[in-house]
């Protein structure tokens, strides 16, 4: 279910403060954040974030198309390395 319109989009207050502080100067250094649930607002365009994915932070340069999405949508939390190839595993000594 979506969020009530009455409340408006969820923007992490701390993060919003950091973004506005940065926009005043020409500072372009990435902002490290854990606020994956934060909605990307138009003020975030052009800002670089380091978004936590549960382990490390992934880099994201916000573009206009990303407005309205959440930061977390751009930092995948799962990593799929492919299924094991049975033949290869069998060849290796000590393989399962």
């Amino acid at each position: 279910m979506g969020r009530s319109t009455k409340k408006g989009p969820y923007v992490d207050p701390k993060l919003a403060r950091k973004v506005s502080a940065q926009s005043g100067k020409g500072d372009r250094s990435p902002i490290t954040t854990w606020a994956r649930a934060c909605t990307i607002t138009p003020d975030f365009i052009g800002v670089t974030f380091m978004i936590h994915n549960g382990k490390t932070h992934t880099k994201l340069q916000v573009t206009e198309d990303m407005v309205g999405h959440k930061l977390g949508e751009f930092a995948p939390t799962r990593q799929f390395r492919g299924h094991t190839n049975k033949k290869e595993t069998a060849k290796k000594p000590g393989g399962k």
Binding site: T63, M66, H69, F74, H83
Partner: protein, 127 residues
């Protein structure tokens, strides 16, 4: 057979049904169109008068997005998701379900026919 918007030729069915042969028109839109045109929804499509057909075409073009335009709109919004590298776009790119469905079993509509892996235990065996 009346032609509505070029190629689309709804058959000799009730208007309410035959309009749904247009991409982007379902039963509720079809009955809305019927009432807007002041036509009996049970009327066979072949009995639709010329003026009504023109009126219908105008209505479809002005107020609704159907057929090619709708298809294009859908394709561009999916393309946008793909380009921005968000989770939903990634699911589209990989041909997996987008809305959080399980993929351990099922999800065959998105994944296509089963690709059997030799030596892999059956789903029952995995549990």
């Amino acid at each position: 057979m009346p032609r509505v918007l070029g190629v689309d030729i709804p058959a000799n069915k009730r208007l309410e049904v035959s309009l749904t042969y247009l991409y982007g028109v379902g039963r509720s839109t079809a009955s809305m169109l019927c009432s807007r045109l002041a036509v009996d929804p049970g009327l066979k499509a072949r009995d639709l008068s010329e003026e009504k057909v023109t009126e219908l075409t105008a209505l479809l073009q002005e107020e609704l997005i159907v057929e090619g335009a709708l298809r294009r709109q859908i394709a561009t919004s999916i393309g946008r998701l793909r380009d921005i590298g968000c989770y939903r776009g990634m699911r589209h790119r990989r041909g997996l379900p987008v809305r959080g469905q399980r993929t351990r079993t099922n999800a065959r509509t998105r994944k296509g026919p089963r690709k059997t892996v030799a030596g892999k235990k059956s789903v029952k065996g995995m549990k």
